[in-house]
């Protein structure tokens, strides 16, 4: 009789064990790639469930707008922060274990390639690619979502090309003009960039530096390589990366950069024009390499008093930074709704127009779903991924505060052109980790604690440590 409770306890423990395993095995076979592409439901006709996972509230604006267009859909929106890889861990583990899986995942530029290239991760979006052609989706945003077999598995609603933001007052002082048309050819090559950096440095007695740090220009080198980081599972250092090491080293040797890291507090001080070096002498930073979102979220937010003192030129190399993609998971329980969601978010003309022109105010969104967080809204000015709409909306954006902030230049036109030059083809799923290791190594090299060879060895060591799948020798 006394054994009964123990047996009971064991039974409960077995149940707990079984529950853990059961959840895993059940749905594992669910993802059946196949050639038949899932077709989306007709626009506005989504009904039933749809689960959307993201890491930004931006996605919630889209999800709410989708609910507005599809009143019968029962949308479950979940947000997990990016910090410490929490979102990635959550998505990867859920898709490995099955059971509670999202229909839609949002992806950052840093890891979109790893999702797109992973077998059995995302469904083909072939059914909606016809519409992408008609809204003229910016090529690099499609490139980012295309796997090695040429199948598109992720799309974006925005394009995030970068440009060189310069201080007009400093340009006026050293070059006698702040006109972007005159400055553009002066900074169009790396040699011109360094030459004019030297000129400013000499004329200012060392107080004016061309950029905060060479790391900022690193992002512009990346898309212009010939080889990706990993070729046949082996780490490859492209000649352009070697060139970057030399470029960064010379910049630092000659004192042409301000030795200020991105996102450090002096970086923001530099935008406001009130940063001093360790000895207390003022430092001035001529330019910042920022993408589309850098204008509203970095410059306008952190240096509001410098409105009108900024100009944009393409800089020495075309580049892009950030951006958000969406895809439908292979294990999705509601693939028809999910594909319609992707179509709506990334290709629907009305939605993209609303997105870019500030229609999605908090009042508009809470009218659709009263439970959205306070302050959720989308301001005007984000560069959408449709070249068709970029042309159409250009004149509207020319009147926006963003345009006034950059001295009357039209960010839509400039970035719209820049977006067409950007390539995403060389990016791989492992790029963020490898890029971080490379930046660390170059920092050690240019700050003088390692020789060039030591830094490259350290880079190889770091990559091999973090991603043992890659051969580093």
């Amino acid at each position: 009789m006394k054994k009964v409770p123990i047996l009971l306890m064991l039974a409960v423990a077995m149940f707990a064990l079984a529950a853990c395993n059961g959840g895993g095995g059940g749905t594992a076979g669910g993802g059946g790639g196949g050639d038949a592409y899932v077709q989306p439901v007709a626009p506005g006709q989504a009904s039933g469930d749809l689960t959307v996972w993201s890491f930004t509230t931006e996605a919630q604006v889209i999800a709410t707008a989708f609910q507005g267009a599809n009143p019968n859909v029962n949308l479950d929106f979940q947000i997990t922060p990016m910090e410490d890889g929490m979102y990635l861990e959550w998505v990867w583990t859920s898709l490995a274990v099955g059971g509670n899986v999202p229909d839609i995942v949002f992806m950052e530029a840093d890891f979109v390639r790893s999702f797109v290239l992973e077998p059995n991760m995302l469904q083909p979006l072939t059914a909606i690619m016809g519409e992408a052609a008609s809204v003229e989706t910016i090529p690099f945003t499609i490139q980012a979502g295309t796997d090695d077999a040429g199948v598109v598995r992720a799309l974006s609603y925005q394009a995030t090309p970068g440009a060189m933001f310069y201080r007009r007052s400093l340009a006026q002082r050293y070059f006698g003009t702040d006109d972007p048309a005159t400055l553009e050819p002066m900074f169009a090559t790396l040699d011109g960039f360094v030459e004019n950096a030297r000129l400013m440095h000499a004329q200012s007695g060392g107080s004016t530096r061309v950029v905060a740090s060479p790391t900022e220009v690193f992002r512009a080198f990346l898309p212009n390589r010939t080889n990706p980081w990993v070729v046949n599972d082996t780490l490859t250092i492209d000649p352009l990366m070697e060139e970057y090491m030399t470029f960064a080293f010379n910049l630092r040797q000659e004192g042409l950069d301000a030795e200020i890291g991105q996102w450090d507090s002096p970086w923001f001080d530099g935008m406001r024009g009130d940063v001093v070096d360790a000895a207390g002498n003022p430092l001035e930073i001529f330019s910042f390499f920022l993408p589309t979102w850098g204008l509203p979220f970095v410059l306008m937010t952190n240096a509001p008093d410098t409105a009108g003192d900024w100009g944009i030129i393409p800089g020495p190399l075309p580049f892009q930074w950030g951006g958000t993609w969406l895809g439908v998971t292979e294990l999705a329980n509601n693939p028809e709704n999910a594909i319609e969601f992707v179509r709506f978010a990334t290709l629907d003309e009305d939605h993209l127009r609303n997105w870019a022109t500030g229609v999605y105010t908090n009042a508009f969104l809470s009218n659709i779903n009263p439970n959205i967080p306070d302050g959720l809204s989308q301001d005007a000015g984000d560069l959408v991924s449709s070249a068709l709409l970029i042309r159409e909306l250009g004149p509207t954006i020319a009147q926006s505060p963003a345009a006034a902030f950059i001295g009357g230049q039209n960010p839509y036109e400039i970035f719209g052109d820049a977006a067409l030059d950007v390539s995403f083809g060389l990016q791989q799923g492992t790029d963020q980790t490898i890029g971080d290791a490379f930046i660390d190594a170059v920092d050690m090299y240019i700050s003088g604690i390692m020789t060039r060879d030591e830094a490259i060895a350290s880079f190889r060591g770091d990559v091999g440590m973090a991603i043992p799948q890659i051969s580093v020798n």
């Binding site: 006394k2 409770p5 123990i6 009971l8 306890m9 409960v12 423990a13 707990a16 064990l17 853990c20 749905t27 594992a28 076979g29 669910g30 993802g31 890889g85 990635l88 861990e89 990867w92 583990t93 898709l95 490995a96 274990v97 099955g98 890891f111 790893s114 992973e118 077998p119 059995n120 030795e259 200020i260 450090d264 507090s265 002096p266 940063v275 001093v276 070096d277 360790a278 000895a279 207390g280 292979e330 294990l331 799923g429 492992t430 980790t433 290791a437 660390d440 920092d443 050690m444 700050s447 604690i449 390692m450 350290s458 060591g461 770091d462 440590m465 973090a466 991603i467 043992p468 799948q469």
Partner: protein, 307 residues
């Protein structure tokens, strides 16, 4: 009849009251631990639609033990812990002795205890960010040393110097934990009967003599507790070095700890569950072994004789 029945069924109550703990313990602690041991013997990698991997025996362990980066991480971890533990312990012992001393009769100990404990309440993220900007090339330290005082000619790049980064991590660990350790030691010291000190004083013992002959020996169980908890915590050191020096612990992997290595292997893009599980199993054996050695060393001589 009724009475007898209720008397019997009371036997079950204990199990029922224990059940929530046992279930949660099994589901969230024991099963994951066994799962980790199992995974460490496989080549599991996180993939959509699959869970687990092929059995590879002890291949992960052989690979890891022969890997210079793993050896470096183990050395770093031990060094960072040891150099933070010794000063932390000395500082905490001195402070605790002063707090409890009957001769000093310090005023406002409550305030000091709270003040010393304060760094422990701050988030590691906050502390790392604070020191990153504090020690930055244009940060306050350099501004004062180069600008205001003019002692240094050029700014010191603390975060690009392996020794400086190590010292910073060690300092932060000490600074965050000495208050906590001091409070635990104070609790241990107040439990020592004052009559021992009184009689020692009557016999003419000095403060130092009383500290070494009464306080320390009677504090042994508490010292053991502090040592073991600090050891286990220290071997799992992750957040401060990771936040201060990035996921590779640069420059020169000088503050790469075992836990950081594991985090690199487990997280995207490598997602190597088997390999990272093997790292945590090795960490588990390392801490268990050292904890056992410490327990043996601290064992009461009387107990030793019995066994």
């Amino acid at each position: 009849m009724n009475k007898r029945k209720s008397a019997i069924s009371k036997d079950y109550y204990g199990y029922i009251f224990m059940a929530p703990f046992i279930i949660i313990f099994l589901a969230f602690i024991m099963i994951p631990i066994f799962n980790t041991f199992y995974l460490s013997l496989t080549d599991a990698r996180i993939r959509p639609g699959t869970w687990g991997g092929d059995f590879v025996g002890i291949a992960n362990f052989i690979e890891l033990l022969g890997e210079p980066m793993f050896q470096l991480a183990v050395r770093n971890t031990w060094m960072l812990w040891l150099f933070n533990f010794v000063p932390q312990m000395i500082l905490a012992l001195v402070l605790a002795a002063m707090f409890t001393s009957t001769t000093f009769k310090l005023k406002g100990t409550g305030f000091f205890k709270a003040a010393y404990y304060l760094p422990n309440l701050l988030m590691p993220v906050t502390i790392a960010a604070l020191f990153q900007s504090f020690l930055g090339l244009l940060g306050p330290v350099n501004q004062v040393m180069v600008g205001t005082l003019g002692i240094w000619d050029t700014a010191r790049n603390f975060l690009q110097n392996a020794t400086d980064v190590r010292i910073t991590v060690i300092f932060l660990q000490t600074w965050m934990w000495f208050g906590q350790t001091a409070i635990v030691l104070v609790a241990g010291m107040t439990a020592i009967s004052p009559s021992l000190y009184e009689s020692a004083m009557i016999d003419g013992a000095s403060q130092a003599k009383m500290f070494f002959k009464i306080t320390i020996p009677l504090l042994k169980p508490i010292l053991l507790f502090v040592l073991v908890t600090s050891l286990v915590g220290g071997l799992h050191m992750f957040d401060i070095p990771h936040l201060l020096a990035g996921s590779f612990g640069n420059p020169g992997n000088s503050v790469l700890t075992v836990n950081m290595l594991m985090n690199n292997r487990r997280g995207a893009p490598s997602l190597l569950l088997g390999n990272s599980a093997a790292i945590s199993v090795l960490l588990f054996f390392m801490s268990s072994f050292v904890a056992l050695v410490v327990f043996r060393l601290f064992r009461d001589p009387a107990e030793k004789r019995e066994s």
